[in-house]
């Protein structure tokens, strides 16, 4: 191998990477929170919600789960303006992440809801809680707790999937790598650095989510 590795350019370009990391983090924080809310809503709609709401929710979940994120992103950013609906690239990327995570987490959360013993619904009802109150106060927390590790993995997957948002000029971590390599022509090194950062982000994000799980669900024994 005659190639000489050279990371000297990092001295100049690290601020670009820092901005990129911040953008990636921002996307996953906003996308993650909104996506989980959407997913929770869809999980509720699909397993407990009104019957008329189920077909559209199923269609949404299946459509998103069976098409690539990149195409969803292009459709939102390049396609929707043709239909008179324009978003900035960051809005488009965030929206794409929200609907993507929403669809995946809906399925995960639904599994958690459906594992709820029937007696929990009946106990809620017999205490005069409305179905929505029962869902909110009785069913939801143990359901989320049950599937929290799977949910954490999915959020990490969506974070890693966000690498393609640079395609629509969102200045995320991948953009930083692309930008640096287009100026320094150090493609391998640039991608190597960003890959390492992604790996660190993934490990940190998973750790943070599991830690958060411990805080949100203080009683481990409830997830059964």
């Amino acid at each position: 191998m005659t190639y000489q590795f050279d990371f000297a350019w990092l001295a100049t370009y690290w601020p670009v990477f820092l901005d990129g990391v911040l953008m990636t983090v921002r996307l996953i924080v906003i996308g993650g929170i909104a996506g989980l809310l959407l997913g929770t809503f869809c999980a509720w709609a699909r397993s407990l919600g009104p019957v008329w709401l189920r077909p559209p929710v199923i269609a949404y979940v299946e459509l998103i789960r069976n098409t690539p994120f990149l195409i969803q992103l292009f459709f939102i950013f390049f396609g929707l303006p043709a239909a008179g609906f324009r978003l900035t690239e960051v809005e488009a990327a965030t929206l794409a992440m929200v609907i993507n995570l929403g669809a995946y987490s809906a399925e995960i959360i639904r599994a958690g809801i459906e594992a709820t013993p029937k007696g929990q619904f009946e106990a809620g009802a017999s205490l005069a809680l409305s179905p929505v109150q029962t869902f909110r106060h009785v069913v939801l927390v143990p359901a989320l707790q049950r599937i929290w590790p799977a949910l954490a993995s999915q959020v990490v997957i969506v974070m890693l999937g966000s690498a393609v948002v640079s395609q629509i000029a969102v200045e995320d971590l991948t953009y930083a790598a692309n930008f640096a390599q287009s100026r320094t022509f150090r493609a391998f090194e640039a991608y190597f650095v960003s890959t390492a950062i992604y790996l660190a982000l993934a490990i940190l994000l998973r750790f943070a989510l599991l830690q958060a799980g411990r805080m949100i669900f203080p009683h481990a024994g409830a997830a059964r």
């Binding site: 205490l127 005069a128 106060h137 009683h219």
Partner: protein, 243 residues
């Protein structure tokens, strides 16, 4: 007018008619034991009274208000009658205290302090004052069932429905739960309980209802029913459960 008036109640699951016309009137302060073979429809009856099942015929009225299927009526009904289940059904993510407070806060919009005071009172009443901060899985079965009773009592119902509330308990824990129920009966609570504890039924109840194949087959004061069963079905049922 009886507190709970059940009139010609019918309930089917698909083709299978489980309740074939039930008439029962429960006066305020009565303690009624419902006995009968497995599958005779005892649980279904209680579940209908609590509005957990839709009924196919007849009527149920509690404190003069007839049961209807819409949400508002159901909630009103459930505020009047509490229910306690065989499987306790405590909320696993909430402490004993939070279990008791929840419905007060959510349904009655009671303030937190007031709900907590009520919860402490009710947990004291079932002898679990010091378990306020324990989670269900840190409690024994008997303690869990007592929390469930406290949870129902905190809504100040007019009547309590109890479905085999000691059947899931280890024998040594049955006593502590029955003790609590005995106390409630003594204080004048209206109770409708499915039970296999014949000795307890004889002791505490004012009336026994024997169900058989979806009908009230025989009914009467416990001393009569147990001493002089009229129908061969009840005779055979009592003979078996005595063995």
């Amino acid at each position: 007018m009886p507190l709970i008036a059940i009139d010609g109640l019918r309930k089917s699951y698909g083709e299978h008619e489980v309740l074939k016309g039930i008439d029962i009137g429960v006066e305020k302060g009565e303690v009624i034991a419902i006995i009968g073979k497995s599958g005779s429809g005892k649980s279904t009856l209680l579940r209908c009274i609590n509005g957990l099942e839709t009924i196919n015929g007849g009527s149920i009225a509690v404190d003069g208000a007839e049961l209807a299927a819409d949400e508002a009526h159901l909630r009103a009904l459930r505020l009047k009658v509490g229910m306690i289940f065989q499987q306790f059904n405590l909320f696993p993510h909430k402490t004993a205290g939070q279990n008791v407070m929840l419905a007060q806060q959510v349904v009655n919009k009671t303030g937190k302090a007031e709900a907590e005071a009520m919860a402490r009172k009710m947990l004291d009443r079932v002898g679990l004052g010091e378990k306020f901060d324990s989670y269900p899985d840190q409690l024994s079965g008997g303690q869990q069932q007592r929390v469930a009773i406290a949870r129902a009592l905190a809504m100040e119902p007019m009547a309590l429905l109890c479905d085999e509330i000691t059947s899931a308990l280890d024998p040594e824990l049955v006593g502590e739960v029955l003790q609590v129920v005995r106390g409630l009966a003594a204080e004048g609570m209206t109770l409708l309980m499915v039970t296999h504890e014949m000795a307890f039924a004889r002791d505490v109840c004012s009336r026994v209802v024997f169900m058989h194949q979806g009908r009230v087959h025989e009914t009467g004061r416990p001393e009569e029913v147990f001493a002089n069963p009229q129908t061969p079905e009840l005779q055979s049922f009592l003979g078996r459960s005595a063995a």
